[in-house]
Symmetry: C2
């Protein structure tokens, strides 16, 4: 069982979801395409870690709603205690920045502004997530504690916002360097 499989179990521990929804929601922490998710879900179902019900829809295609089983929950709990791999980031832009002296200031500024607007868009989406979490929570977010069902969502949105703020801060600083 690979990390992505456990990631899917992790999402399913809160809510029953379709493969399509799992694919959408796991993106910020473990980007994966549907072509990777669907075969893994079939494997997880084979092993009895998840089960699904067919849900017929008239307006949209029918779907399979997956949920975590008892033994899936046990597997998930065991995995949490196991050693955790360090995060891995692959950043093509950073590779380009290393040799940015090969282009002129104007071109470098163009690239930087493009990257900055990418981060601005990301931050906007994270802020929308934050508002969604706030709307779904019964308590004020600051009062949530570890066993509250929204705790994970809350602290992860916070993590994402802090990181994108750091990226935006660097972009701002870089702009002053390229003036």
């Amino acid at each position: 069982m690979n990390t992505l499989s456990y990631g899917l179990l992790s999402l399913l521990s809160k809510d029953s979801r379709t493969g399509y929804e799992l694919m959408q929601h796991i993106q910020p922490f473990w980007p994966a395409k549907h072509s990777q998710i669907y075969p893994l879900l079939a494997l997880l179902e084979q092993k009895g870690y998840v089960e699904f019900v067919h849900v017929l829809q008239s307006d949209k295609p029918d779907k399979k709603v997956y949920s975590l089983t008892e033994i899936g929950l046990k597997a998930l709990q065991e995995w949490i205690g196991l050693p955790t791999d360090p995060p891995v980031t692959r950043d093509e832009f950073a590779l380009k920045v290393y040799c940015i002296g090969l282009v002129n200031k104007a071109e470098a500024m163009r690239m930087l502004l493009e990257r900055e607007s990418y981060y601005i868009g990301k931050k906007e989406r994270y802020m929308e997530s934050y508002e969604r979490v706030k709307g779904q929570s019964e308590k004020p977010l600051e009062e949530l504690e570890i066993h509250d069902p929204m705790f994970g969502n809350y602290v992860l949105v916070r993590k994402a916002v802090l990181k994108v703020d750091a990226d935006l801060l660097w972009c701002e600083w870089m702009k002053s360097k390229l003036k």
Copy 2:
């Protein structure tokens, strides 16, 4: 030609390096093992983008020092202008945090402290890089501009420090949540 290949050219645009050194220096932005680097270097050499000289060493194993060729430089310059893929991060810890409510506060705190010390170690190494860059630069770092050979190193260390500071800030904030 994949992104990692261009990353190698990018590093070689500043200094001639061995495959082993390239493997070490590309880690922060594009983690790759030597088993991936060496075959790519052979391909790049076949295409004429890089060339190497054998350097015999008595105390350590002999090595191959690679450098960028004219046509390698041209390929690198073309790549810089091309659209840049967004950064990709895979974070197993974040997947665990999503369902952290499955374990008790003490266990969650243990995991968090472990992750925090990982980030502290990373920050220390980045600060060492910063000092190394400062030592190698002729001008004060604040005065470096885009065409200075140390500019890329300087702004990337700054980027790395800002990001790890954001991670540490989140850890600090999380500790207060788990008290």
